[in-house]
Symmetry: C2
Subunit: 164 residues, 2 copies
DNA sequence: TGTAGCATGTAAGCCGTTACATGATTGA
DNA sequence: TCAATCATGTAACGGCTTACATGCTACA
């Protein structure tokens, strides 16, 4: 794949469980990987445009497999601005707090729809079994989060201001 | 609070929905905030040890409130090494894949227990209403994640190697 | 013909980390 | 007495971003 294509792929799928890197980083990392003989590059000329296409080397593949099988797996890290603000909900205007949570529910629906399209696109081919499992995980995750925040909104509606 | 205490607080609670900053960053940020008149520092001498205690200023409080109420709230970002590896599950040894997922379920239980202790410590005081809501959210989140991964493990057990 | 998308890169800089450096206090 | 914890900071550096810079190609 080209650097450009890798970035598109990352924006489409990787972003659901990792940060999608900037274009510039994709190119720098590819250069680094070429230097380490993890990937090889080949230039293609079509018309006046040069396109550099990368493919993984045997060394790169072995390294990847070694990393997957041997290294410890870190616990996920989360940066959750909605939870962070809710923590200080007492300092927020009640309607602003509610609209933030409603907005989050809407955003979750958008993300879920995007991810569902990815899942559907994968089909039921054996070759995409694991990517499909990850996508399904993500869909379940969005469903759970949506349920939690919806219930939270109802809880807040029940006690509109400070009660008593 | 002192920088040291803030770091402890972050390690105990903030880490569940944000990255807990390094000690050094806590001190640098506090310095910056003092420079911006967002917080004020006062030195306390007890014996030979100097302890610098910080408190928020009126300006800092207003800024915080303004940020909470007016700014847009970003969608959460996640770095999920387990999902990342599962995506390439086809390149992993089946037992390594399974043990990774089992380990993750165990880690989730540990995190959940830590968070439950935080929730319990908050009690049902009105003053801690919002922190309590955030903690409960986290508990629900861990429960959902645990259920999803447990189901995933069963799905994988059902189809041990490539079927067909 | 002009704009969106394809395509590749460099430079500056921010955010946050680890490593380094120092010393007091408490309790086993 | 010695290890853990309290307590504060500086320096170097890594990872990643935004801004800058350039040019081709397809299509409305």
């Amino acid at each position: 794949m080209t650097g450009y294509e890798l970035k598109q792929r990352a924006d489409k799928t990787l972003r659901f469980y990792w940060v999608s890197p900037a274009m510039s980083q994709v190119y720098t990392e590819l250069d680094r990987l070429v230097g380490q003989q993890m990937v090889m590059a080949s230039d293609e000329l079509s018309g006046k445009r040069r396109t550099r296409r990368y493919r993984i080397t045997a060394l790169g593949f072995e390294s990847l497999q070694g990393w997957l099988n041997s290294s410890a797996t870190d616990f996920p890290t989360l940066k959750h601005p909605v939870a962070l603000k809710l923590l200080m909900g007492a300092l927020m205007q009640p309607d602003r707090l509610r609209s933030m949570l409603k907005q989050y529910v809407d955003d979750l629906a958008v993300s879920r729809a995007d991810l569902l399209a990815v899942r559907t696109g994968l089909g039921d081919l054996e070759a995409f079994r694991y990517p499909a499992l990850v996508a399904e995980w993500g869909l379940d995750y969005y469903d759970a989060e949506t349920e939690i925040v919806t219930a939270l909104l109802e809880k807040l509606a029940g006690l509109p201001e400070r009660p008593g």
